[in-house]
Symmetry: C2
Subunit: 213 residues, 2 copies
């Protein structure tokens, strides 16, 4: 029932933002052995109205069946495809500090098809160390490594002062997406996608909301 | 020139979202020794239009002076006050795994007035360990600790399966805000503020945008 994916389709940012959440809840339902679910029920779980849910999913194809609801597994797989996580993504990470090490150690994202291929740092004390099965490489090797391997995404966990330089090198080497944990807004060409995780900004927003309450 | 803070003022979420960014750029300008800046210039740096910037800041008071622009230090301090970061905030953290340890070790947020008072875990191998000057406490002490100390914010870095239980305990003990790193949407009463850092969702959004490009 899925309609052909229309490459020219425009999807609102608010919808894109909700997709990972739908995907996460569907995974939980799958793990619980659930086979089908109504838009009403799924909406309740996720916290959006049923019409909103149907409208969101309609951007990507006609997933539901009238009077039956959604097939959990089919919807899960379709969303994964829409989000580009059925094909495996290879990533490099630069900056093996606190947050970098936490990401290398946890690798929660591997369950979703994102693999860390290599990790880099400038610190001679870290280069050569093995962290959770990956040996820290010298950042001078970054560009060649990206160019010679099939790397889609670069993770930046360096201090603010060197984040732009690392981003520049990644982009020159052909990376298409940057997952940025440095507290700077990177300057990048329009064809490069950036997702920022500015953690302290989240804390500041929280503090503001607590104060308002 | 700042008008009295009106406690009943409604501020759009989009504006709240931009405040930490304004604050961060103003800090950089302060560090560079900059004394004043026009709304035009500040807007350019931050990436919003000058009218947008003036409109955003007007929610909180008349910061600028016609024909002069903003006094960097005054604006920085006013924003800090608005965001509730002039008063010190004390936090507890529960879950000393990968991300938890990274937060305890980096403590970037201390520069902004957020202090970790205590850290907790359920794992007997971790309880009693010292991490960056803080000794890991048993989570059974959590409620009493929060009740007996002046704690505003709880940081949750436990696995998804125990996040709601930790949140419940924090709320019962009187915490007003939760900074949640667990990949679950916590169920909380309306007077409790939650800021989610669902890291893998950011990566999924990035993957989707890269695929769309």
């Amino acid at each position: 029932m899925t309609k052909e994916t229309d490459e020219s389709i425009m999807v609102p940012a608010a919808v894109i933002k909700r997709l990972p959440k739908y995907h996460r809840y569907l995974e939980e339902l799958l793990n619980e052995g659930r086979e089908k679910i109504s838009s009403q029920q799924l909406g309740e779980i996720v916290g959006v109205s049923a019409p909103q849910l149907r409208q969101d999913l309609n951007y990507f194809g006609n997933f539901g069946q009238q009077g039956y609801g959604y097939n959990v597994k089919k919807l899960y797989n379709s969303l994964a495809e829409v989000m580009g996580i059925q094909q495996k993504s290879n990533m490099v990470l630069v900056g093996v500090g606190n947050i970098g090490q936490a990401l290398v150690n946890s690798r929660d994202f591997e369950k979703r098809g994102f693999y860390l291929s290599a990790i880099f740092d400038t610190n001679p004390k870290l280069i050569g160390l093995e962290i959770n099965g990956l040996v820290v490489k010298d950042v001078v090797e970054l560009k060649d490594y990206i160019a010679e391997n099939d790397i889609n995404i670069g993770v930046i966990t360096v201090p603010a002062s060197s984040a732009q330089e690392v981003a520049n090198q990644m982009i020159k080497a052909g990376i298409k997406g940057i997952w940025n944990f440095s507290p700077v807004d990177l300057k990048t060409p329009p064809n490069i996608q950036v997702e920022n995780e500015h953690l302290t900004e989240g804390l500041l927003r929280l503090s503001f909301k607590v104060k308002e309450e």
